[in-house]
């Protein structure tokens, strides 16, 4: 089985979010970048297929050279080959078109992406790739099993879950549940050494335009200080929620 895992290179979840260039760009200074957590759950599930059922894993990122350490980490975790499409990831549409174009000439049985990246939260790349290539697609995927070219998966729905099945090829938007947090792997020294020898292919981007543009970023307004209510005066809390906040 040939698996492609789409990797987004995102600021760590603990990052302070700041902007530069007149609030038009994300300030990367002092920010640690990681594999998008939703993609990492998918990569870890891909490793399970590789080890238990036999599979090759390619990882792909649309980004500039700054995302290479993130791709090397994916290789150190156990992916076999990395592909970087050399371009600023202009928007989700642009990234999806690049990936779809690559997939068209390098077919895969299974494509795994995260349900969304934790930076811009676009939640569209795997769905657009699926739509462009007319592939089976399941997002918010919390479980994935593959047996004899048939996939069975769970999808989170509002207030529950559903079980789906289909034949391959398939593209999923993964999230926690695909594997547990405790299954995530920290690359060991051997993995890191091997990753240096593994291929990291850099391809020029295809000529597509984006269809959205971020004009300006804002940070939320500073919050007013919390109103503390004594634990002995819970009537006061109910009163505030009723009369002042008007939520009861």
């Amino acid at each position: 089985m040939k698996i492609l895992v789409c990797i987004s290179h995102v600021p760590d979840t603990t990052s302070k979010i700041n902007f530069t260039d007149d609030d038009t760009k994300f300030d990367t200074q002092g920010v640690q970048f990681v594999i998008n957590p939703n993609d990492e759950f998918g990569l870890t599930r891909a490793m399970w297929f590789k080890e238990k059922q036999g599979a090759s894993i390619d990882v792909i990122n649309v980004g500039n050279s700054s995302s290479e350490p993130t791709l090397r980490k994916a290789l150190a975790i156990g992916a076999d080959k990395a592909i970087r499409i050399n371009s600023e990831p202009l928007d989700g549409f642009f990234v999806a078109k690049q990936i779809a174009e690559y997939v068209q000439t390098n077919s895969y049985d299974l494509i795994i992406a995260g349900r969304e990246s934790i930076d811009y939260n676009g939640a569209m790349v795997p769905g657009l790739v699926a739509g462009l290539l007319k592939m089976n697609y399941v997002t918010n995927c919390t479980k994935l099993e593959i047996d004899n070219g048939k996939a069975k998966m769970d999808r989170e729905i509002d207030g529950g879950k559903e079980t789906l099945s289909c034949s391959l090829p398939l593209i999923i938007g993964g999230q926690k549940g695909l594997v547990e947090e405790s299954d995530l792997r920290i690359p060991n020294m051997r993995g890191i050494m091997q990753a240096r020898q593994k291929p990291l292919e850099v391809l020029e981007a295809f000529e597509f335009s984006s269809n959205t543009n971020t004009i300006k970023f804002y940070k939320p307004e500073p919050k007013q200080a919390v109103k503390l209510v004594s634990a002995d005066n819970l009537d006061e809390l109910i009163n505030l929620l009723h009369k002042e906040a008007k939520v009861l």
């Binding site: 979840t13 603990t14 979010i17 957590p37 989700g92 549409f93 999806a96 934790i118 930076d119 939260n121 939640a123 569209m124 769905g127 657009l128 739509g131 089976n136 697609y137 399941v138 997002t139 919390t142 989170e156 729905i157 509002d158 207030g159 529950g160 879950k161 559903e162 079980t163 789906l164 099945s165 289909c166 034949s167 999230q175 926690k176 547990e180 947090e181 335009s209 269809n211 959205t212 543009n213 971020t214 004009i215 300006k216 970023f217 940070k219 939320p220 007013q224 919390v226 109103k227 503390l228 209510v229 634990a231 819970l234 009537d235 809390l237 109910i238 929620l241 906040a245 939520v247 009861l248």
Partner: protein
């Protein structure tokens, strides 16, 4: 050119977020000087939409659409968008609508902007404000394509009542066979989902163990609220993943969010930031959550929560 909005239903009934979607779409159409068409799939009674300015509804009813299929639903919206020459399509932020949106975008070559929190701030180019970085920031995004799919954040716009008379058109749709099938689905019955709830009661490690969750469930019951939890709680298996709220879990945009025994890690706060009112109950006055909350009680959850529950019951009894 018109505005098309797909309004979800559940068991034949229009979902609550449909009225916000209708309100938003009407205001959007006003600013674009055009009309709104609402599309429903397997909804029975759609009359309530007349109270929110919807003058035209296209109803698709077909038994084979009782199970949600992202590709079929996207196909229907695509066809209706084409028939009505719609340039702007408004979707809600449910998991189903977020699932079908990119399929639709690829099909009709539209830009998809999600997490939109208001009407356009500019029409040339079309510009909307969105949340980004899991609510740690906002952005103004401009769109250059002709067709635009707008994913409206839950609870970000509110309701605009406007009673109109509504024309209803029924449309047949032939469902294409797909080898992607839904084999079963389970909904936690008798409970309100986090996505639909006006109030969410959420708890963390401060509850000391899953056996103490009856306190949280009782309080949620009194308030008609959904229950949620912090990441460590779901990681330890005390509560299901579907209740995990935060950056890698679920976002919560509710009217009232009550956090009990949750310290307030930055990832958790990001997930609940767009909730309107936040109440924190924690025995540690230094817990970071107090900086993000509107109201706070410093106290032991095991003491405060049952007493709060009793007082709320009294309050409910008096005010109902």
């Amino acid at each position: 050119m018109s505005v098309l909005t797909y309004i979800e239903s559940s068991n034949g009934k229009i979902k609550k977020n449909g009225f916000e979607l209708a309100s938003y779409s009407c205001e959007l159409a006003k600013s674009l000087n055009t009309d709104v068409v609402a599309l429903t799939i397997n909804a029975e009674d759609v009359n309530e939409l007349s109270s929110y300015g919807i003058k035209k509804i296209i109803k698709v009813n077909n038994e084979s659409l009782n199970k949600f299929s992202a590709s079929s639903f996207a196909d229907i919206i695509s066809k209706v968008a084409d028939n009505t020459s719609s340039s702007h399509i408004v979707l809600c932020s449910s998991l189903d609508s977020k699932y079908l949106a990119p399929l639709l975008a690829a099909d009709i070559n539209a830009a998809y902007v999600n997490n939109v929190i208001g009407l356009p701030t500019n029409l040339e180019p079309f510009t909307v404000k969105r949340s980004a970085f899991t609510n740690k920031a906002f952005s103004d995004s401009s769109v250059s394509s002709e067709k635009i799919i707008i994913g409206l954040s839950n609870n970000s716009f509110g309701l605009v009542e406007s009673s109109v008379s509504t024309e209803i058109e029924e449309l047949d749709f032939e469902v294409q066979n797909s080898n992607l099938t839904v084999d079963s689905s389970e909904k936690v019955s008798g409970q309100i989902s986090i996505a639909d709830a006006d109030i969410v009661v959420s708890a963390g490690r401060g509850m000391k163990g899953p056996e103490n969750w009856n306190l949280i469930e009782d309080l949620a019951d009194t308030l008609g609220a959904a229950t949620a939890c912090s990441k460590p709680v779901s990681d330890m298996g005390w509560r299901p993943h579907s209740e995990h709220v935060g950056q890698t879990g679920k976002p919560v945009a509710t009217n009232l969010y009550i956090a009990i025994g949750i310290s307030g890690a930055i990832q958790h706060l990001a997930g609940i930031n767009s909730s309107k009112i936040k109440v924190v109950i924690n025995n540690d006055p230094e817990a970071p959550f107090f900086k993000a909350a509107d109201y706070g009680v410093v106290g032991d959850a095991f003491d405060v929560v049952p007493r709060l529950n009793e007082k709320l019951k009294e309050f409910k009894a008096q005010n109902s």
